[in-house]
Symmetry: C2
Amino acid sequence: MARGSRLVDLVHARIEDFLAGRSSILRSISPDLDPLDAFSRRFLSGGKRFRALFCYWGWESVAGRGFDPFESDGGRDHYPVVSAASALELFHAAALVHDDLIDNSDTRRGAPSAHRLFESLHADSGWAGGSAEFGRASAILLGDLLLGWSDELFDEGLDAVADRQAARAARAEFMRMRTEVTSGQYLDILEERAWLVQPEAEQRTRAERVIVYKSAKYSIESPLVIGGALAGASAAQLAALRGFGLPLGIAYQLRDDLLGVFGDPEVTGKPSGDDLREGKRTMLVAIARERLSTGQRRLLDELLGDPDLGADQVRMLQRTIADCGAVEEVEAMIADNLASATAVLEDAPLSRDARAELGSLAKAVTRRAS
Amino acid sequence: MARGSRLVDLVHARIEDFLAGRSSILRSISPDLDPLDAFSRRFLSGGKRFRALFCYWGWESVAGRGFDPFESDGGRDHYPVVSAASALELFHAAALVHDDLIDNSDTRRGAPSAHRLFESLHADSGWAGGSAEFGRASAILLGDLLLGWSDELFDEGLDAVADRQAARAARAEFMRMRTEVTSGQYLDILEERAWLVQPEAEQRTRAERVIVYKSAKYSIESPLVIGGALAGASAAQLAALRGFGLPLGIAYQLRDDLLGVFGDPEVTGKPSGDDLREGKRTMLVAIARERLSTGQRRLLDELLGDPDLGADQVRMLQRTIADCGAVEEVEAMIADNLASATAVLEDAPLSRDARAELGSLAKAVTRRAS
């Protein structure tokens, strides 16, 4: 993925450049805004950039330029897709800032989450009032700022697209993606609470709905489609990108569900068993609940979502979920979805080069350890 | 303001129509999203629509059509400005949802705020977990949804503008407005806490900075400029709109500060002395602190920001602030700023008709009781 890693550098540079512009606006208002600037940069400096990569390869799969970002045309040709890919990363940073607040997560990528950073700023500055309250309020505003900026960066890219119909199609997907992922997040926090009054028979369907909207479309299908649309994709090409992206996105999220329960904290940057303390009602949990005895299920329901679960309790829950065969079933679902996705690639009307890269990316995102 | 009230109807219809489209997307995902739809409509059904009116009159002041929205051209001509005006209202609804959460406000326009609505939904549904936590999480997401939608509606309007330079200028102002108002909100919550460690000599300057960015530009200057830019305003016309809008916006917010302390709850829909309980460090407070004796100032600082202030304490604070002459000084500032604004109008290169309406609007927003 040599071009992939160069793309990551280009996205990084585009984000830096964009943030430098925003930074000068903030500075013109007041140096008191420096923390908003510093924390924005911090949350945009890392991450796996999967969304950016899928967006780029969606574009390349249609444009088929075999383009070399450093040597071809000084950057004019790929400016829209690099901007769109960067905008997706900005949007994602905004979503994570709000998500950590919603989930009450203390850490993100092994470092303090945004509301905790603002909380420390307050505590260290000797200001009046409560630090936690200031942390939460500031993180809401930081997320709002990043949301607006992602849109601004996206539009900057669109302005450089000569084909207006392509630009409109890309924007329509970006807009729909935002509505869908926010809906998916709402369904996610709803499931954590509403499972109590829902019929047992619906739990898989409900878990799958969260996977599709909160993650699969957002993380993979939409980035691919946005990239493809920017390059003027035909209906058949968009259908192929969707046909590949959706099952891959489902596999991606199922891997995430496993990592949320069994992931190595050293690698994920999140505490072990984080999803158990948050009480996420994932597909993994739905399957485990089907397989467990009534007594075991009752115990799982009782402990799931308890923010104070100890290490022993986490290990016990991990064992319960693994021993009932739920992990194997989820692994099989990942393999099936990955197979569906790669089957679509085989004779998709997309560039050969991009199909090979998408195939490698598909493996990477479903086999990752963080 | 006959055309003004017809404009309000057009904006209302445009918002309804737009939300109906979003509603069908939400419905296609899940009926569990109905509350997001219902609460969006609720927060967009009321309000004074000042931002929409300023946006429209900014447009009309440059377009000078003397246009009649119901009779002229079936709506094609004014579609962009009505969309932009509606988008400003959507953005404002988003900001209020997050603002009420930040300020921990229970009510908005005399009805429960968004996080309280979601809290009740949770409590009434027999779901697991805490209701307050679900309320806060859902309100973050509702605000995010509305933020994205405001942008979508704005872009729909821009697509219909033939003059691309005009469209870009309007969008640039919209983007800058979002960065500025979010920055202003951050400075506002910062002042509530950081005043403790700031030099007394800076308090007026700091209060004014909040007024300018949180309110004056956002509520009046930017809506006017967005409208004007959409109509292809010249640099001189934009300068006139800014020259009128900024002082008027300052006067508007100073009136708001007075209403936040002395407003009639029956009219404002907010509890009496709400700003006192929230501990807002407004210009009114800055001026009162300059005028009070050391002992009175200490008492004010002690009580300001106490969420549990009783009716007696609120009355005592109201009297203290009024008796020291701070209210008169703020009233004089309102009058001065209003005079500066109207002076700019007099020989501004804007349509005579629009100047007359802007003059009336200026009086209305600085003399309002809610």
